[in-house]
Point group: D5
Chain length 155, copies 10
């Protein structure tokens, strides 16, 4: 029954598959797609993976650029349910980030408390850049995160 | 038996407790301690927590600054065993970092592959800064990570 | 070594024990303590359990009210590390709350998205009340939560 | 074999898919659907997700409203098996609720014991509202839960 | 610090240890203790283990019977935090009960739904008896549970 | 390959689906089916769910009653592999049973040891009844379990 | 408080420590201790580890043999709570047994069903021997388990 | 794509399904199949389940006996990847074996060390028999394991 | 929808299946394939399993050798997401490696710190060989790993 | 009670602490200790950590070298129970080894099957070396493992 019911509609996973296929066919890069729709590469890739919602305008621009079916626009605008299945990620590139949180998490917390007060860095009002920094001992990956400081409420 | 055997020697946990107590008594900040020993606040806090090893010179400077017992120097120089007990951290300030890895981990991976090739950002040849960025809608926490790109070997 | 080092200072766990002992001895209630320091019972209990930080003023009022040692003031002001050890709580009173999140979590999410947009209810800029509502079929527990809506950033 | 056996009958998952598709096509909202069948948005969404059972009357009203096949009525009336697969939810909007239970669960428990006695708030004889509260510093999500107090039996 | 702070007061664990020691010394049985205080053996043992709260009257009777220190009365009256550390119990006698829930849980659920409607058996308004039933093929353990039926609310 | 190989034979899951479909179509209840084949409702439901094996005679009676295909008889006679996928069940009706084991498991164990000796209640030589007990404060669910006492062997 | 309360009584862990110390001092072996009290080595070691209960007679014989304090007798007679903390054992010698259950568990189950019917091998009415079997390619460890067949009840 | 690619070849799971179907059709038993190919029932069942590799000769004998397609021979010869998905098995017949490892694992280890030295019983150079032992109090299941003693290397 | 979308493109899993099928058909070995493309057996197998990325040149050589479809070349060049689903591997051959890490991990760490300083062996700039070493007491498996030493950064 | 009972005897943990303290005081290295007792550094460190048993001769040599109390000899000779508490190790130096098993485990397995047959590399009849290999792009850590090939038995 389900197959019949759901095949008439695209979901986020379908749109991600369409985007990846179109990106290959058109020889696009994430940098290039991001520039075309006027957004950052991190946010653009994340939204294409179904981990962020697009505004109508950005969704239309993406659909136009990648020649996706028009039904994809509404799907790209939907609020995603953010799910990851590996509590501890196994891919080495992602695990290193998990390790950094394990090793430096208490340090980041202490410095936020010292520098701002009792609160956190928001992961919602948040942005991130990933860039390449040339270095003669070997180029470096630079990750810059910025999140609004949120102080705990007392009531 | 054990109590007798181990009380004669400081371990990393003892030195961390001594540092925290001295920091309070002397009214120091992590920023201030870091400046005094000529290192960054992130690295300094991390080494004081027993999550990084100090050079002899930096250990001596710290011991002098905080008036720690001289035996602490050798302890600060030891290579730590980095252990965290919560697979998923519960403190909200640290959890948000875990969440960022869950949501944006695959994106960071994709952009590293696009920008560098098949490899990772090192978490060993690595540094990090945490700073406050004034913003009229509410100041922001900025976290900058930089790690050497390591390409996979083929043999 | 550690015992010597740490016995000179109170930590959050010690202060919680002192508060509970004093509360019993003085025949106080959480409602009463909260009223005395001019805060809500939920926040007051939470801060006494070491799960929230007090302002200097509130800490002084509490120490005065419960005749705690003056060193407790600084401890109550510290930013706590919020830790819970049971991923799934076993106490029936707390488990029911976990169950409500399991059953109604996706519903709350859907209604927030419908009512506000792509975002969340903050658990930081947040407050909560627990009250008794008389009811002839049996009185009811009312829990009211209020958190600032935080919309996802796009960049 | 199974495909043949089960395709002749709708299950709760199928009906949920039909509801979501019909809601989109008809441009309905959860608020609107709830009002149409004379129930609250929280309960209505939950029952549509297959996490609560409908009375015959409400099921008929919903089927009529959304033009679902008549077989859906009996499915909506069935007692669901409530299953959630993530012990710790990853979606940020749902995780924040889990975090609130972790941080404030013991506080809610203490206040129930102080205000009512040795017992719990029922999650069965229970209702909940989610509303938007305008606020000049940013609107707030208000969640109100009400459950019957159940005192422990002694025998 | 903590040792000093807490040694002045008995907690539930201490009272359990005092009860077990007194029970041995006085040659009492759980059946006997239960009869003496006019309660069932299941509830009596459970309250003595710190898993249920006693009324003032029952606590006094127990303290008198077992010659416990008078401070134990208030402790026995406190609402316990019910904690078990093994998600899957290893002791064979307890594991068999866990296995019964695994094998027959869905069956009990189906029969409750068929016999009562959409709801559950309360574990709060609940009582249990454990008795020996003579049988020529080997005596049998009989466990009788009775809990109030709680129907799900719709709102 | 697999589809071809296995579609020629019914397995326990198929037979369960056939039973549920037939039960609906014929307007049967578990009580009624159990009475028809001369067994208890608990055992009958459990065997229909594929969690117990039927004798040839009972399997034939069931197949006749529900007009199942004759191949179902052999399947109903097979020894099942009893599997449950949720270590901690999430459905509230089943979770309450798990909670009872957590809270009262050690009590049941203590009373078995006091009443019988060092041993357990068998979950194999075992039977159970679920019944409705009228009560003016609200009807109650009664669960009666009976298992053979098995004493530990010493050798 | 607790230390005072519990130091007056031996528990199973204490008696195990006393046995191990006495065994070393007296130069005994498990084989020898077992022979002296007229029981098998497997059961004797298990009871000495606190994983089985001794009869009064065997407990007395053991206490006499190893010159333990007389209070140890009652402790050895108590029904133990069998707890193991590693769900998957790490010690290679024990892990291999776990591996055998993983690899051959379904085979043992199939052969029991074929040879006996729908039931299990009891782990309660159970005994085991561990012996050395000389073999020119390297001696072998022989483990013989024997448990009563228990057939599932139907009711 | 995958379906096309893999349907041309049998894998171990397919061959297991073919064996079970053929065994039913031909009215064979595991005992009988084992005798026909000149191997033990434990090993034969295990190899048929895809948990051991057959020699070419045994695979041919089995294929001939059960009239399997000739492609099955190569599949039966392949080294299996031994996977079990339940860390703690739920089926009661298999769980009892897990329980035996939990209760008696340290005992088996102690007796191996006492009888052989510092080493283990191999689970690779290993064999096992399951037999029925008549007993007037109820027949018993006998499991005999034999594995080569492997002493730890020192270098 | 998805089936249509994805069947037009090969993914890493498809290519692995094609390689395994071709290897069988052509009677190739991993040693032989590796030699043909001028790489080591470990790396070649790993890349064929989709756990490493190939250069264009090596991918072309492999596709030519195994007569794979030309679309496979691009797939073999893609950076893989390295995922393993068993936290603790169950296959005995792989588990032994996990056990070696558990037993000797702290030793390898100590010797790296003694021999190199505070750092690690890279698992990215890494290579490995597996060879057979004849030995009259039984041939041995030799595994040689070599990874670049990476010293921790201080900043 | 326990403290009194166990303080009279050293256990493996005590001896490890004594070794580490003596090593520091005497300015020894693991390389040096190993050379002094005529064993490899890997095995020597492992035995000193209590993860392997020493022969009487090696234990005496070690005790003499490090001026340990003579009771340490018997402790060093005992068969250890090998326990590690982190299923997934967090220390980066050890995690990389875990990662290598995750990524290359199936490859090592495939090459062992191709090169030897259906069997494993023993982790018992096993040895390992860790050495430094100079390299102009950065020195490398070389880990060489050698374990006896064990072929699966068929019976």
């Amino acid at each position: 029954m389900k197959d019949q019911l759901t095949t008439s509609a695209l979901d986020k996973e379908d749109v991600t598959a369409l985007i990846i296929a179109a990106k290959k066919e058109l020889g696009q890069t994430w940098e290039g797609i991001a520039a075309s729709i006027g957004m950052s590469p991190v946010w653009t890739h994340s939204a294409c993976m179904g981990m962020n919602a697009m505004s109508a305008e950005k969704a239309q621009a993406l659909v136009l650029l990648l020649q996706l079916p028009p039904e994809a626009i509404a799907v790209l605008e939907e609020s995603p349910t953010k799910v990851w299945s590996q509590t501890v990620p196994t891919d080495p590139c992602i695990y290193r980030l998990y390790e950094i949180v394990g090793v430096y998490g208490p340090t980041i917390k202490a410095l936020i408390h010292e520098g701002f007060g009792d609160g956190i860095m928001s992961a919602i009002d948040f942005d991130m850049q990933v860039t390449r920094v040339p270095n003669e001992k070997g180029d470096r990956v630079k990750i810059e995160m910025s999140g609004k400081y949120l102080g705990y409420n007392a009531w």
